[in-house]
């Protein structure tokens, strides 16, 4: 009973101290929200209204029809009508247009003949790759559709249907994310990174501050046992990280419409496990850093490393072998793949148990390590 009392006193003290630190509070709650919202905004909508130039050297009904088709695409706006090819390069150089379509002279008359083939040139600025993909896909698709319509007309006018090309129609469907929204991929990544940073920041700063101000030594002479001290120090970061997780999850789900297809309970359990596994890293950081500044710098580095190895953007399987092997040592890579599986794919515990096991093993291993390093620094 007495032990319980000592324990709660320390936890309450930690909470009071945490709530007084307005700066840390801002960083932990406002920062991630801002980041998540900006990221969601930047990636949730498709790329639209890319500026396009048209060099129409044909000036017939057909060339104008093609131009209107291109202008009507959501992805492209025809902003420049040019007379010659030479005018295109400076515009692409300055980034004033992302794509240029060159319609050659005789385009209309070639199409009017029963077996003529006209060629259209498409120049795309590849310096921004997502813009380039969007412009390419849209323009090539629209030109191919126009071509298909003309081919159909020709077939109708020729007798006996004419010859046919062997062709396959690919019918793609995207499972779990039919619109292929990038936000469904990026927001869970960001969510996991926020949980990681907040957990490590709160857990290590709490202890390092005690050391900086010399109160850690005072804590040692209290009747608190070491394990109680560690447990008490772990309570605040766990709760804060979990609350932050729930808040960010709410934004992800309600503002940006990322679904939770699996069990919410399983998601929370997995998150709690991840927080505990990552918390021990925070303890190790606090054991090796003398000042808060050092701790923050270390967390920053670990944050970047975790992001690089976690499959935040590049999936682990696409990394070089050595890197993908190292990535298994980071709790976040297992957590992120479970987070995606539960939220987007509706995976059950039976389908993610290997990652769950890996997370548990990593958690225990780093717990043992942190207990050792923590004992050393206390003594």
């Amino acid at each position: 009973m007495k032990m319980w009392h000592r324990f709660t006193r320390l936890v309450v003290k930690d909470f009071q101290q945490f709530l007084r630190d307005k700066l840390l509070l801002t960083f932990i709650f406002v920062g991630p929200t801002l980041q998540l919202v900006m990221m969601g905004q930047a990636t949730a909508s498709d790329i639209k209204h890319l500026p396009a130039a048209i060099v129409d050297r044909d000036r017939t009904r057909d060339s104008r029809a093609l131009m209107v088709t291109l202008d009507n695409l959501e992805e492209l706006d025809v902003t420049r009508h040019l007379d010659s090819e030479e005018q295109v390069a400076p515009l692409l150089d300055r980034g004033e247009v992302s794509v240029a379509v060159l319609i050659p002279q005789g385009f209309g008359s070639t199409l009017a003949s029963p077996a003529g083939r006209a060629s259209v040139q498409l120049w795309v600025d590849g310096s921004n790759i997502l813009g380039a993909y969007a412009a390419l896909g849209a323009a090539e698709g629209a030109i191919a559709t126009t071509g298909g319509e003309i081919a159909a007309e020709r077939r109708l006018s020729s007798e006996a249907g004419g010859p046919r090309l062997t062709s396959f129609d690919l019918l793609p469907t995207a499972r779990f994310n039919p619109e292929l929204a990038h936000s469904h991929y990026l927001l869970p990544s960001q969510l996991s990174l926020i949980v990681l940073i907040v957990t490590m920041l709160v857990s290590s700063v709490g202890i390092v501050r005690e050391r900086e101000t010399g109160t850690l030594e005072q804590l040692m002479v209290t009747p608190l046992r070491r394990i109680e001290l560690i447990l008490a120090k772990a309570t605040l970061p766990t709760l804060v990280a979990f609350v932050d997780f729930l808040a960010m999850l709410a934004i992800t789900v309600w503002v940006f419409g990322v679904p939770i297809r699996g069990s919410l309970l399983l998601l929370m359990v997995v998150t709690l496990l991840f927080i505990i596994a990552q918390l021990t890293w925070g303890l190790v950081i606090s054991a090796v850093s003398a000042t808060q500044q050092q701790a923050v710098l270390l967390i920053f580095m670990i944050g970047i490393l975790s992001v690089a190895f976690s499959g935040y953007l590049v999936e682990a399987e696409n990394m070089p072998v050595l890197m993908s092997w190292i990535s298994n040592l980071f709790p976040i890579s297992h957590y992120l793949s479970m987070l995606r599986a539960i939220m987007l794919k509706g995976a059950t515990i039976g389908q993610i148990w290997t990652q769950l096991l890996a997370l548990l093993v990593l958690g225990f291993a780093s717990l043992a390590l942190s207990l050792r390093s923590f004992r050393k620094t206390l003594e």
């Binding site: 700066l23 920062g31 980041q35 900006m38 930047a42 990636t43 790329i47 639209k48 209204h49 890319l50 692409l92 077996a115 083939r117 006209a118 060629s119 040139q121 498409l122 120049w123 795309v124 590849g126 310096s127 921004n128 790759i129 813009g131 993909y133 390419l136 030109i143 191919a144 071509g147 003309i150 081919a151 004419g162 010859p163 046919r164 090309l165 062997t166 062709s167 396959f168 690919l170 019918l171 793609p172 469907t173 995207a174 499972r175 779990f176 994310n177 292929l180 929204a181 990038h182 469904h184 991929y185 808060q292 500044q293 690089a308 953007l313 590049v314 399987e317 696409n318 599986a341 389908q351």
Partner: protein
């Protein structure tokens, strides 16, 4: 006055070189972060896993699947026997897509009808999904073309418009080549972090009051600091450029001296913004937090680094144009990939210079008031 500025700049320089943390922030962190972020933001996929649910099991379907997987980019992970297995494989991440060949494909194609093939992609990784679809699409077209040996004239009749696509500046559409020059702009914000902490540290430690007692005025102090960090920032750009060109193999098609010159221009803009913000703050940690939220995060998402900035949205345009990073991304991609010179880049150059001078003047004005 010039002498006072010079002595402040010399003092700052000494500080940057001596203080480990500042040295790290200015000289090491940009190159190091560039390496990490570049791995993070490149999504060139070289190997895809595919499951095949072949319900036709004809010679046609077999040769089609062989054509898809022959060069090793697409790897046949499992020959699926039942429908339930499809979802299982996608859910457990064993495959990135499942190809479903319907029964009777060969008969349809033999009759001259269009064969329909279903592809179920894993939508949770949209980038990989669209790349994989493009890969399968290209291979399918080539496979279809290899089957029908029609004379050129008939082919022209059936495909009346032929599109000749040319991708400028980045012919292979390599994500790495597109992202690294963009990310340079993000990592070169780090010296701006350092100058913000440096100004607030003077306040925190009380050395600012010591400076008030000297003939050094606010103008001298701010310009001196700016000069020191500006020159260090330009020096720090050298390892960054080396990492980009030697480590990642990004072509530097333009003039490298011009790049360093315009880096100085960017430094003016971003350091001006940083001094302006730091002027309102009195704690180092607060400066870090504000810089992170106002400069670093928006630089990643609002600057046109990933998606091009929407031309038609006034809000997005406004946010992007106020960020020094946006202009520097244009400059960096321009010099690295496009190989252009000042004639194509004068707008962002002018924008950065204006921004820097304006922020500096405002800060000097506000700073004087605080002194008095």
């Amino acid at each position: 006055m010039l002498r006072r500025i010079r002595s402040i700049a010399a003092k700052e320089m000494l500080h940057i070189l001596r203080d480990g943390r500042t040295f790290f922030m200015v000289f090491i962190a940009p190159a190091f972060t560039l390496v990490m972020l570049s791995y993070l933001f490149s999504w060139d996929v070289e190997r895809f896993t595919l499951g095949v649910f072949d319900r036709d099991r004809s010679s046609l379907s077999r040769s089609y699947i062989a054509a898809l997987t022959e060069d090793g980019t697409i790897v046949l992970e499992e020959d699926i026997a039942s429908k339930d297995r499809v979802d299982e494989l996608l859910t457990t991440d064993r495959v990135k897509a499942v190809l479903v060949v319907p029964p009777g494909l060969m008969e349809r194609v033999a009759k001259g009808e269009t064969g329909q093939i279903q592809i179920i992609l894993d939508g949770t990784t949209p980038g990989t999904a669209s790349q994989l679809l493009a890969q399968i699409g290209g291979r399918t077209t080539r496979f279809a073309a290899s089957m029908s040996s029609l004379p050129e004239e008939t082919l022209a009749q059936l495909v009346p418009i032929d599109t000749r696509t040319r991708v400028w500046y980045n012919p292979n559409l390599s994500a790495l080549h597109s992202m690294v020059p963009g990310l340079i702009a993000v990592v070169m914000c780090m010296p701006a972090f350092a100058i913000a902490t440096s100004l607030t540290r003077e306040k925190e430690l009380g050395t600012m009051e010591g400076l008030y007692a000297t003939p050094v005025g606010g103008t001298d102090l701010l310009i001196g600091k700016l000069a020191a960090y500006l020159s260090c920032g330009v020096v720090a750009a050298v390892p960054v450029v080396l990492v980009a060109t030697m480590w990642f193999g990004v072509p530097l098609r333009g003039n490298s001296a011009l790049f360093l010159l315009l880096t100085a221009d960017f430094m003016l803009g971003v350091l001006g913004l940083s001094l302006f913000l730091a002027n309102f703050l009195s704690r180092q940690q607060a400066a870090m937090v504000v810089m992170f939220l106002v400069l670093f995060v928006p630089s990643m998402f609002l600057s046109g680094l990933i998606d091009p900035v929407d031309r038609t949205s006034f809000g997005a345009q406004l946010q992007a144009n106020f960020l020094p990073t946006t202009h520097y991304i244009t400059i960096s991609r321009g010099i690295f990939l496009k190989g252009v010179g000042l004639t194509a880049l004068w707008t962002p150059t002018l924008a950065l210079a204006t921004m820097g001078v304006a922020y500096l003047l405002i800060t000097i004005k506000l700073f004087k008031k605080r002194l008095g």
